[in-house]
């Protein structure tokens, strides 16, 4: 009895976190600490100094971003390393891109939120707190190597996002979007959990931790080699991939997207369409190249078909829509299709530069989305959820800088050369062509053509359509911060493509 207890003690000591483990998630710890710091500031600062909260949050996020990009450090190991006794895994070729995507989305959302909540009755400090928690959870999610890490960080992010979607408590639309997201998200996480349980049960046995990705990979390969891939495993696997596809917003799990994106406060819409989609893409990539890699021959056609359907469904639905936020939401579905196509190609080729392609695409998409969102929140509207195309009419005369923000953003989203969005799409198309995935290639090309139609319908309304001469044109005041941000992001759409080429 005593001796077995001594053994248990030894086992615990072997599994206990070491200093190197904590150092590997230092950027995440910093972001989580920043979340708490926002709350402390909200409690201690007098009302006249509240503007400090978003400012410190942004400065700290920029510092963490610089820190996360340093190579050769504990949090950017040179080769794939497992930490926390198998709970997380960092790989050199994707860690920087993953962290940069999430930190950039958080930073830009903070700018949007500060402007958006200036004229609305909602506290800015709490928004930043939840935003930081969600960002830290997403960063952990993308490096998880165990289903406990995956589930807990996915749910932490999801619960935070429910709050951010329903943040405008006096607005019926925001609450309705929050409740719809809650029910859809709760359903997807229940299905995901059931999938995890089935995989755990059907592959597990004495001495096998069948929640660990590496051990699932081994057990699945052994089961397939013995010719007994059980039905339970397959059902579980399908449910898990469905849960990730829900986050990504891929067909057939995209039904929640238009309503939630339209009703959510615009900064949250931007966050959902960048960080949340990125989380879905990275998780899906992690799952199909990690634990489920032995099934790659069966998964690849499935992913390719899902990519084609997602591209077409998103684009065709966006064609029939006239609300700007809904158009952006549905075009986001078609961007998810591009990401799925890239993931399918990575599964087939096993290419190591796949994660980088996906990171570049996500960053390009984020820059475009935030430019358009910045232009949208500067426009005075009665209801945040009601933004018809007509409301943009005459924007060029009212504020040239907002019209140019819209132009650069939409140009990058639609993939007009020489914007970064064009090169991101081109790299994925080249990747698909190299692998002779002609059906997916064709669907992607067709979707670019369709997307140009509805993207430029937005731009035409803002720039080309004349306003009545009798109608008084009210010039819009744009603050210095917004102008600076629009300038920086517009420059990024052009200069970013140079960076893509340098690599």
């Amino acid at each position: 009895m005593i001796s077995s207890l001594a053994n248990i003690d030894g086992a615990f000591k072997a599994l206990a976190p070491r200093n190197a483990d904590w150092a590997s998630i230092l950027p995440e710890i910093c972001v989580a600490g920043l979340a708490l710091f926002c709350l402390v500031q909200a409690m201690t600062l007098p009302k006249s100094l509240r503007w400090l909260i978003p400012t410190t949050a942004r400065i700290c996020l920029a510092l963490v971003m610089i820190m996360a990009l340093q190579g050769g450090t504990a949090w950017n190991p040179a080769e794939p390393t497992v930490f926390f006794a198998g709970l997380t895994k960092l790989s050199a070729d994707s860690a920087q891109g993953i962290r940069l995507t999430f930190l950039l989305s958080a930073l830009l959302t903070s700018f949007l939120a500060a402007r958006f909540f200036k004229e609305r009755p909602a506290p800015i400090a709490d928004y930043h707190h939840v935003l930081m928690v969600v960002t830290a959870a997403f960063m952990l999610l993308a490096q998880s190597n165990h289903f406990v890490t995956l589930f807990v960080s996915l749910e932490t992010a999801a619960v935070g996002l429910y709050v951010l979607v329903g943040y405008l408590r006096r607005s019926q639309a925001s609450l309705e979007a929050g409740v719809k997201y809650l029910v859809a998200g709760g359903l997807s996480s229940a299905l995901l959990l059931m999938g995890i349980v089935l995989v755990y049960g059907s592959l597990g046995g004495p001495g096998v931790d069948s929640l660990n990705f590496d051990q699932i990979n081994t057990a699945l390969a052994a089961a397939l080699a013995a010719g007994k891939g059980s039905a339970l495993t397959m059902v579980g696997l399908a449910l898990i991939l469905g849960g990730a596809a829900f986050k990504l917003g891929a067909f057939p799990f995209h039904a929640w997207i238009p309503d939630v994106y339209q009703g959510a406060p615009t900064p949250t819409t931007a966050l959902l369409s960048t960080a949340s989609k990125a989380a879905g893409a990275f998780t899906l990539l992690l799952l199909v190249t990690g634990p489920f890699a032995p099934l790659a021959p069966k998964l690849a056609p499935l992913l390719a078909i899902a990519a084609i359907l997602t591209l077409l469904v998103g684009n065709l639905a966006a064609l029939a829509t006239t609300d700007v936020k809904r158009v952006l939401a549905l075009s986001g579905v078609s961007h998810a299709g591009f990401l799925l196509a890239a993931i399918a190609a990575v599964v087939i080729a096993g290419a190591s530069d796949g994660p980088q392609l996906i990171s570049i695409y996500l960053i390009a998409y984020a820059i475009g989305t935030f430019l358009v969102s910045q232009a949208l929140i500067e426009l005075p509207v009665a209801d945040d959820h009601h933004r018809p195309l007509l409301g943009l009419r005459g924007l060029l005369r009212r504020s040239p800088i907002l019209a140019s923000a819209l132009g650069f953003g939409i140009g990058s989203l639609a993939g007009i050369p020489p914007s970064i969005g064009f090169f991101a799409k081109l790299l994925i198309l080249i990747f698909l062509a190299k692998l002779h995935l002609w059906w997916v290639f064709g669907a992607a090309l067709l979707s670019v053509a369709i997307s140009i139609h509805y993207y430029f319908a937005i731009l035409r309304e803002a720039v080309v359509r004349p306003t009545d001469d009798q109608e008084e044109v009210v010039p819009l005041e744009v603050s210095f911060t917004s102008r600076f941000l629009i300038g920086a992001l517009s420059a990024a759409t052009i200069l970013g493509s140079l960076l893509v080429f340098r690599n």
């Binding site: 589930f151 807990v152 749910e155 597990g204 069948s210």
Partner: protein, 102 residues
């Protein structure tokens, strides 16, 4: 109790899960829908414990604590949203959620 097998536990878990899923898809009252979601999570937890017991691995049993914690956080936020919506419109019927449309 001697002759309960894994299949019995899984059958019960599967029934509970199907019940919850049906409720989410069929019922119109948001509170009931939310209760059904929690029922689905509980069904998954039951299957997890059964697998943990019959596979003789402890990992699943430990996972249950995380699931319970996460479910509690989700209920706190979810009920807050539903109550706020009720205060705003005086109803929690899902077919009356028609503010968002094109």
């Amino acid at each position: 109790m001697e002759n309960t097998t894994l299949a019995h536990h899984l059958l019960l878990a599967g029934l509970l899960f199907a019940l919850g899923l049906t409720g989410v898809l069929v019922r119109r009252n948001l509170l009931v829908v939310y209760m059904c979601l929690e029922l689905m999570l509980t069904a998954a937890t039951l299957a997890l414990v059964a697998f943990s017991r019959f596979n003789r691995t402890m990992d699943g049993a430990i996972f249950v604590f995380f699931i319970i914690t996460v479910a509690a956080a989700e209920v706190a936020v979810g009920l807050a949203l539903i109550v706020a919506l009720y205060r705003r419109r005086g109803s929690v019927k899902s077919d009356e959620l028609v503010t968002l449309r094109d």
